[in-house]
């Protein structure tokens, strides 16, 4: 038995440890090198971890994520210039999903930007892109009265995600969680430690992300674990995080997003604020792109087989190449394989107009299919996201 998926690239330096790596080792986690960090892939069954987040709660170590601070009188203006969004329009205490583009409109990373105060922003970048984002922000802020600092080593990041998250957290904090809205952040005390508490996540569930000092991470992890034990809280690894975000239709950089794509390609043109005042990096290319018809469309697929469509597999329409799978997995919630894929817009339109032809209900003609290692497996075009929580 050999793994026929692409081999992991050689990583010469030893992966970095987070403030919680020892805890993961004590918990018996399978650890993996992810973007240069030694991270828990799973603690036991990733399916059980996934289901816990959907039905109760899961605890994640996200300390590998990059944190960058932008501060100073021109911090907001610098970010309006550096990013596709409009951070200057954010109220202090609010957060927004945004992107940083290259001059040609290609996505360098997708980000969450938190406005902590009038002149203080915190930007969370993907671990693999943190150095690129840090360098780009420093360069783009050079003409502004603003300072950019890489604060990744100053923060541990713990995510508590799931329908029981608020109930688990409430006894540990004096913060009024009902007042902490989605995509808001507050300075708060949790289990006696000062943290930045944000109601954000990457799972499609309600939940919190807790930015803490590295030396407080083990204490917070232990207190949260204890508080949630009776509610079904379990630690969850990167494998569950990936299937959770896929079900929620959330893009992953390196899969749905890359420097060869614009936000429009990913169906995320809404993060590009072309109507904001002033110049921003990528504006000319993105304006032109917004005016052109799409070259590809990001769609959701479900399959009736139990074989899994995976990143890079070809999508077929009438047995001819029509696109590429960007992410695929067995969906624990839907009980079938799901995938996101970029396909030709004309095929997306034809498939949407001919649901029977896409295999809906298992009786279709199989015009839309995924080539799974040489065999065309019929696929059904579905609306994204695959899963939306009941609110």
């Amino acid at each position: 038995m050999t793994d026929s998926s692409p081999a992991a690239p050689d990583s010469a330096p030893a992966p970095r440890r987070t403030p919680l790596t020892s805890v993961h080792e004590q918990l018996g986690a399978s650890l993996t090198d992810f973007a240069g960090w030694l991270m828990p892939l799973r603690y036991g069954s990733e399916t059980a971890e996934h289901n816990a987040v959907r039905t109760a709660a899961g605890l994640f170590d996200l300390s590998h994520m990059g944190e960058l601070s932008v501060t100073g009188p021109d911090a907001a203006a610098a970010l309006d210039y550096a990013l596709t969004g409009e951070p200057s329009a954010l109220q202090p205490g609010r957060a927004r999903y945004t992107m940083i583009a290259a001059d040609d409109g290609g996505v360098l990373d997708d980000l969450i930007v938190y406005r902590l105060a009038d002149e203080e922003f915190l930007i969370v970048a993907n671990a693999a892109n943190a150095a690129v984002v840090s360098a780009a922000l420093a360069e783009r802020a050079a003409g502004f009265d603003a300072a950019v600092a890489d604060r990744t080593d100053d923060y541990a990041l713990i995510a508590l995600q799931g329908p029981r998250a608020a109930a688990i957290l409430a006894p540990l904090t004096s913060a009024d969680l009902a007042a902490v809205r989605y995509y808001a952040s507050y300075r708060a005390r949790v289990a006696g430690r000062d943290v930045l508490l944000a109601r954000t996540g990457y799972t499609g569930e309600d939940g919190f992300e807790i930015f803490a000092a590295p030396q407080d991470a083990e204490h917070l992890w232990a207190e949260l674990s204890k508080a949630g034990a009776g509610d079904g809280l379990i630690p969850a690894g990167l494998a569950a995080r990936d299937t959770l975000r896929l079900e929620a239709g959330m893009p992953l950089y390196g899969n749905e997003l890359s420097s060869g794509m614009t936000p429009f390609d990913a169906g995320l043109g809404r993060v590009v604020k072309l109507d904001k005042a002033g110049e921003f990096v990528g504006r000319a290319a993105l304006s032109a792109r917004a005016a052109r018809p799409a070259q590809r469309k990001l769609v959701g697929l479900t399959l009736q087989t139990r074989r899994i469509p995976r990143h890079g597999y070809e999508v077929l329409w009438d047995d001819k190449p029509a696109g590429t799978v960007t992410s695929g997995a067995p969906s624990p919630t839907l009980g079938m394989p799901i995938a996101m894929a970029y396909i030709r817009p004309d095929v997306a339109e034809a498939a949407a107009a001919d649901p029977a032809g896409t295999g809906a209900g298992g009786s279709g003609s199989g015009r839309l299919a995924v080539d799974i290692r040489g065999r065309a497996e019929p696929a059904t075009l579905v609306e994204l996201p695959f899963y939306r929580r009941r609110t």
Partner: protein, 131 residues
Amino acid sequence: MTVPTELYYTAEHEWVAINGSIASVGITDHAQKALGDVVFVSVPATGTRVTSGEPCGEVESTKSVSDVYSPVDGEVSEVNPEVDDDPGLVNSDPYGAGWLFKVKLDETDGEVPPGLLSAAEYTALTKDADE
């Protein structure tokens, strides 16, 4: 990691139990741990000729897909229907209820089929891979 001493192994992380002319085949504890949750197993149908070292099936897990290689020469005499219904048996009981298929061996001279590893040899192999 469990490596029962009465079984034989391959470098592709399969185990083989020889019982007379019948070889039972599964994947090892080390393999199931590395794969994560197994969601689908495809094995050759009863009656299929299999050849040692050649791919004859696949194991799909959440994160990856792996080929299954036949560890022996012969004809598939039985497949495990339970694993089709509940692929998680490969994780929960890789050497027992999670067996994949049985092969009627071509050579039944009482010798162990060539190329198989002992438990000690397999343990050494996985230790090397972990370092």
